[in-house]
Symmetry: C2
Subunit: 351 residues, 2 copies
DNA sequence: TTGTACGCGTTATCAG
DNA sequence: CTGATAACGCGTACAA
């Protein structure tokens, strides 16, 4: 999918295409002006009379003219498109509710400017080569990166390349990267404090992947809350944001800590896995063990029991990322990075 | 003034960008050949000696050269990118499990050829104007359209424009459009037959939107199965693929048909809504009323009770759509449309 | 305010 | 098999 500079022999792609796209020359001729004047009128250039502009506008709509992006890009050295980079093509990421919100928010931010969104799903093995080359070589004007892991070269390399880019979720590598994030430490605290306030004393956690900031930050929130309350913080099992991983971690916790009365699980998908394990073990939720998830995914509400969870303003985050990038691209507003938003607790039956 | 052949960019968008992207001329010079020869070598043209090709290859890798897409596009009149068109930007569609599978499958189909995927989310009001214009004016080489409704101008207009396009899900308008689909009639039948076989006799249905083929086809499958069994087919309520809509439809059914002992709900999201209503009405699932959903979404497994549902091979469908489009674009294999795949029943506790 | 002329990086045509 | 050279459609100094 990413251009590596090798292609098959040329092929007659436009065969059968009847509709001839109008060119700027035709617009100019119809409007009775020169091509450069038409260009200026269309691009809202400064020195053009109202009458001329009107004539050009009329010609544009009559012909249904749209500037040829390739030609424009060739001279402006811009592509008018940005990449949404997802360093893992697994269905897992795509079906994550997080992803939907991201696209939705990003689209919203982009709809004002007319930037196109190019989806770049990269297999981890290719990130270092194809993906980075693609991003560096002027195919896009900027990039938004989600789901970044510590090992990924992306943050560091993008920073070096100078390509305007914004991360969704603080990257653990690439110290000067711009990013927007939700305060995951606060989120972990929110969940854990809720458990403490409802009288739980033996509170475990299932973490996310610890090579992602979302993983370490939520863990830290849990840790800090327990430390402040003077409660034990040794019941930790690590997961990977999948249902199966959550189940495995929950089993591990049950084996090692018979007495636990609550679990903070760092994602709803994992929490659902944990609920299954608890049910199998004959434990009642929330009677015996309270459970709090994270993400406020659709399945949180329909889980049994319905899952108390932490909601992140995902779409707002993506929108902020998009706006940040656009502002960097147009050099307009001096948006500052990082942008940090706040999570919310959604209380349901499970805790 | 002396022209050194390389001028500063008009707008300083690339400011701070240290890495200058290499051009074909530089590759040619380094390889000691002319630009045309280098081009041929890179594009695997027919008349080029092995030695030359090797030299060019070496130069390419040394410089990290990638063809400038804009320049190439300008002359080939191709963009090497295709659009995934989603005529409703609602988070609803994006968070639908359907969408994740679509992207994933499409990416898989495209990864062989090096086509870029451009995401085009269109507000319904803009489809007729912005979106169509964008698609028609050569910004992309082809389009894959999902979630098409009867009223949308897309199918008809794309057909007229001659832009190679493939629909995922049979469009109700645009009779000659190419598409891939899952056999939704068979799916509706599968679900309903299962209910009949397990002894249910008063089987209602909650339909999807009836301006989409998925809606009407699943309804028809339900209808046909009941007709074959000589059972009544008057308990129909229409939904819109949302949880809330499913709940509303379920209430309507309960009001009108006190005696129903089963419901085929045309999507899992709606089925979850229906489950809530049934529980509120004090009805046991599957004791009093059996429920079958559709989609095999993640929340189907975690619903209570776990939802029996119909699984569509969504990713395979998207992959087929991608391959169909690619074959059209390259003029290679004579893939035939429509491609119709088969659904599967996933039996769980709810029926 | 408008028009002229040139260059952006690549592929395609046509001689050698 | 290779190398000049002419497009491709557009934006913009510069001259008028």
């Amino acid at each position: 999918m990413i251009d590596d500079g090798r292609r098959a022999a040329p092929r007659p792609l436009t065969a059968g295409r009847e509709h001839v796209v109008p060119t700027l020359d035709e617009v100019a001729r119809l409007a009775g002006v020169s091509r450069s004047t038409a260009s200026r009128a269309i691009n809202r250039g400064p020195r053009v009379s109202a009458a001329t502009r009107a004539a050009v506008d009329a010609a544009v709509t009559e012909l249904g003219f749209t500037p040829n992006r390739a030609a424009r890009s060739l001279v402006t050295r811009r592509t008018d498109s940005i990449a949404l980079v997802v360093p893992e093509p697994d269905e897992r990421v795509l079906s994550d509710p997080f992803f939907a919100g991201t696209i939705s928010g990003l689209t919203a931010a982009l709809s004002a400017s007319d930037l196109q969104l190019v989806l770049v799903l990269a297999r981890p093995t290719e990130v270092a080569t194809r993906t980075l080359r693609y991003l560096r070589n002027g195919h896009v004007d900027g990039a938004v990166v989600v789901s970044h892991h510590r090992g990924d070269a992306l943050a560091v390399e993008l920073e070096r390349s100078g390509l305007p880019s914004v991360f969704i979720g603080r990257p653990l590598s690439g110290p000067r990267a711009e990013y927007v994030d939700v305060d995951n430490v606060a989120g972990g605290r929110l969940a854990t404090d809720h458990l403490i306030r409802s009288g739980r004393r033996r509170i475990a956690t299932v973490t996310g992947p610890l090579d992602m900031s979302a993983g370490v930050d939520r863990l830290r929130g849990w840790h800090d809350a327990l430390a402040d309350a003077g409660l034990p913080r040794d019941a930790v099992a690590s997961g990977d944001f999948t249902t199966r991983g959550g189940a495995r971690a929950a089993r591990e916790l049950l084996d090692r800590h018979r007495d636990l009365d609550a679990v903070f699980v760092a994602s709803d998908l994992m929490a659902v896995g944990a609920l299954g394990v608890l049910a199998d073990a004959g434990l009642d939720v929330p009677g015996d063990v309270a459970v709090v998830g994270y993400d406020n995914a659709a399945l949180a509400a329909s889980a049994s029991p319905p899952l108390t969870t932490v909601a992140s303003p995902v779409a707002s985050m993506a929108r902020a990322a998009g706006e940040l990038l656009v502002s960097r691209l147009t050099g307009s507003a001096p948006c500052v990075s990082p942008v940090i938003l706040s999570p919310d607790l959604v209380v349901r039956a499970s805790a």
